[in-house]
C-alpha cells in the first residue's frame, strides 16, 4: 500500500515537472483548422478542408494543425486554443461556426480567419449581432469561402438528362439549407436546359426551385435514409439520383449497386475514388473543391495578399467542376460529351447562366 501511495505522489511531482517543459515556440506560419461535428475523417467537407491544409504544409512550408469539435460548445473553445497559440490563420469549417468565428475575428483583428461555406454580413433585420448572427458588415480579417456549385450541378443535370432511360432523374438533400439546395437548383436547371435544347421532357423528382422545396433526408448521417429514398425514387421511375446529403448518399449508391436499377452522381469529392466500393454506379460527381479554396486562403495569408470578404469559387476558376466519367467514359456518347463541354464553356464565358435557364 505504502508503495502505491509513494508511486502516486511521485507521479504527481513528475507531472508538475512535465508542465514546465511544455510549449515550444516556432516561427513558422501557423494554420489551425477547427472542424465541425463530423470530425476530420468525415470523407466530406472537414476532410476536404484538411486536405487543403495538408497540401499547404507540403508546398508552402506552413505548419498545420486541426482540432475536432465534439459538441457545439467546442467551437469557441477550439478557436480560443488556436488564438492562445498565436496561430496566423484559423480555418473554420461550416456555417454552424459562423457566429463564433465572427466574434473571435472581431476581438482578434491581427489573426486571419477563413470560413468554409459562409460569408459576412450574415445578419437579418432584427437579429442581434454577436448572438443570432456574426456581423452586419464584412470583417476585414475574415475570408468567406463560398462555392457556385449550381454551375457544376448544372452540367451533372444535363448529363443525367442525356443518360436517363426512363426520362426521370431525381435529387434529394440533407437539409433545406442554401449550401445544399444550390446543388439541387443547378441540377434542375441542367435538366431543363437539356429539355430546351432537345425538345425532350425529362422530369426532375425531389426538387423544385420555383416552390423552393423538395425531398430532404433531414440529416447528414443516416445511410438507411439514403436507401429508402433511393428505393422510392426508383419506384417512381427515376434511374439517376443526385444525393446532396454527405454520407446519406452512400446508402443510395448501395441500393443502385445491389439492384442495378439506378446510377448515382456523387457530391463534394469524386466518389469514384472516395467511395470506390460503389464506383460501378457512379456516373460522375459534382466537385466542390474546398481543398483548393482552403489552400488558396493559406497561400494568400502567407504571402500577404489576404483580404477579408468573400471568395466565391466558380466553374471558371475550377473551384467547382464535374468529375471524369471514369468507367462510364465509353457509355457516354461523344455527342453528349461535346454538349456538356459546350455548356461548360458557355457557363464559363457567361453566355449561359443557371438563373437564366430557370427563368425561361
Amino acid at each position: 500500500m505504502k508503495k502505491i501511495f509513494a508511486f502516486l505522489s511521485l507521479l504527481v511531482v513528475a507531472s508538475m515537472l512535465l508542465t514546465a517543459c511544455g510549449g515550444t515556440t516556432s516561427s513558422a506560419f501557423k494554420v489551425g483548422q477547427v472542424t465541425d461535428l463530423g470530425g476530420i475523417d468525415d470523407k466530406s467537407f472537414n476532410a476536404s478542408a484538411w486536405l487543403g491544409v495538408e497540401n499547404a504544409q507540403k508546398e508552402l512550408g506552413v505548419t498545420g494543425k486541426y482540432l475536432e469539435s465534439q459538441g457545439q460548445s467546442d467551437y469557441a473553445k477550439n478557436i480560443q486554443q488556436f488564438l492562445d497559440e498565436d496561430t496566423n490563420l484559423i480555418v473554420t469549417v461550416g456555417f454552424l461556426l459562423g457566429v463564433d468565428t465572427a466574434k473571435a475575428a472581431l476581438a482578434n483583428p491581427e489573426t486571419k480567419f477563413a470560413i468554409v461555406d459562409y460569408a459576412y454580413p450574415d445578419c437579418w433585420p432584427g437579429a442581434a449581432v454577436g448572438k443570432d448572427c456574426g456581423s452586419d458588415k464584412e470583417i476585414a480579417n475574415v475570408l468567406g469561402l463560398t462555392f457556385q456549385t449550381d454551375q457544376a450541378a448544372f452540367l451533372a443535370g444535363y448529363l443525367a438528362a442525356g443518360m436517363t432511360k426512363t426520362g426521370k432523374v431525381a435529387t434529394y438533400g440533407g437539409l433545406n439549407i442554401p449550401t445544399v439546395t444550390i446543388f439541387m437548383k443547378g441540377f434542375e436547371a441542367g435538366v431543363k436546359y437539356y429539355n430546351q435544347q432537345k425538345g425532350t421532357n425529362v422530369e426532375v423528382l425531389g426538387w423544385n426551385t420555383a416552390a423552393a422545396d423538395g425531398v430532404f433526408a433531414g440529416n447528414f448521417e443516416s445511410t438507411d435514409d439514403g436507401r429508402s429514398l433511393a428505393e422510392s425514387f426508383v419506384q417512381e421511375g427515376a434511374d439517376i439520383i443526385l444525393p446532396v446529403a454527405g454520407p446519406v448518399g452512400l446508402g443510395s449508391a448501395a441500393v443502385c449497386k445491389e439492384t442495378g436499377n439506378c446510377l448515382v452522381i456523387g457530391v463534394d469529392a469524386d466518389w469514384y475514388e472516395t467511395a470506390a466500393e460503389y464506383k460501378d454506379v457512379v456516373l460522375t460527381s459534382v466537385l466542390k473543391k474546398i481543398n483548393v479554396a482552403v489552400y488558396d486562403a493559406v497561400k494568400r495569408a502567407k504571402d500577404g495578399t489576404f483580404k477579408g470578404g468573400v471568395a466565391t469559387y466558380t466553374i471558371k476558376d475550377g473551384g467547382v467542376d464535374i468529375a471524369p466519367y471514369h468507367d462510364f467514359d465509353s457509355k457516354v456518347s461523344a455527342e453528349l460529351k461535346a454538349e456538356v463541354e459546350a455548356a461548360k464553356k458557355a457557363l464559363i464565358d457567361g453566355s449561359l447562366t443557371v438563373d437564366g435557364v430557370l427563368a425561361k
Partner: protein, 416 residues
Amino acid sequence: MTEKPIQPKKEEKAPASGQIRQALLVPALAVLTGLIIGAIIIIITNEKAATAYGNFFGDPLAALFASWEAVATAYGSLLVGSFGDPGKIINGLGILFSTGDSSKFIRALYPLSESLVTATPYIFAGLSVALGFRAGLFNVGAEGQLFIGTLASAFVGYSLVGLPWFIHLPLAILAGALGGALWGAIPGYLKAKTGAHEVVNTIMMNWIAFRLSDWLLNGPMKAPGFRPITPQIETSAELPRFFADPLRINWGFILALLAAYGVYWLLFKTTIGFEIRSVGLNPDAARYSGMSIVRNTVLVMALSGALSGLAGTAHVLGVDRWVGQGFSAGYGFDAIALALLGNSHPLGVVLAALLFGTLRSGATRMQSMAGIPIDIISIIQGLVIIFVAAPAIIRWLYRLRNIKSDTTVMVRGWGK
C-alpha cells in the same frame, strides 16, 4: 402513501477511514492504470518513439527518452489544458498583487474554467444514472432526456420576452427539469405497469428524442435564417457567468453541486430515499414491507430524467445559449460511466465528473500541442470503466487483499 413506511434507521454509520480508503482505492488505481495504458498507446503511436525502438539494442536510452518525451508532451499539455499554465498563473498573481489588475490572473484560469464547464453537465447526468442504479434501474436514456429538457428550457428561454430574470430563469430551469422528467417517467411507468424493461425503453426513447429534436430544430423551433438551430435565449433566462469572456464558468456549476447534495440528502436522509434504496436492494422485501414498487419506479425515473434534463439546461442557459443538433457531446452516454466510476454515490459522481471534465477539457490542448487525437481520452475513459467494473483485475495487478465491501446493487436482471 397508504401504509406507514419503515423509518430509516441510522444504518448509515460513518464508515471507518479504512473503508473510505478502500472505496477510493480501486477507482484511483483504475484511473492510474488507465493513464498508464494510455501512455503506452501514445508511445506506440508516436513516430519518433517507434523509430527509436527500431534501434532499441543500438541505443536503448534514446528509445526510452523518446517514449518519455512523447508521454511528457501529451500528459503535460493535458495537465496545462485542464488546470492552466503555472507560469501564467504565477505571473498573473504577480500582476494582481503589484498593480491590483486581476485580468491576467483570471485569464490564466481559463483552462480550469473550461474544465468545470465541461464537468457541469457530467455531474447532473452522472447523478441521473446513479439515482437510477440506486433503485435498481438502468437509465440508458439520459441522453434523450437531456435533449428534451434542453429543448424545453431553450423554448421557455427564447419565447418568453420581457420577464424579469428572477422569474424567467427559474421558469427556464423548471421547464428543463420537467421536460427530462416526462421523458424519464414514461419508461418508468411502462416498467412499473407492464414490466417492459427500462433499458430497451429508454434506448427507444432516445431515438424518439433525437428525431423529435431534428424535426423541432428544422421546423417549429428554428431561428430566422437558414441554419437549423433555435433562436438565442433571452438575457433574462441566462445563467450568469462569473467572469468576462472567454471564461464560461457560470452558476450552472454551483447548481450541479447543489443537486449532488440534494440527491445525497434524498437518498440517505429521507424516507423516500430509504424506500428507493430498499427497492433497489430487494424489491420483494420492499414490497412485502409495504412499499409501492410502481410509485417508486416512476418517481425514480422521473427524478432521474429531471436530472438529465438539468444537465442540458445548465449547459444551454450557462454556456451555449442556443441549441443545434450538435448540442450534446454525448454527456448522457458518458453519464453511465460516471455513475459506475462514482459507485452511484453523489460524492463519487461529482469526483468522477470532475475527472472526466478535466480530461475532456485538457484534451483540446493535448490534441493541438502533442497532435494526439482526442479519441485517446475516450480510450482512457473506457479502460477506467473496465477496471472499475472488474475490480478483480485491479486487485490482482496491485496485489490488494480482497476486502468485502458494500457493493451497490446496479441493476436487477431482466423480468422480475
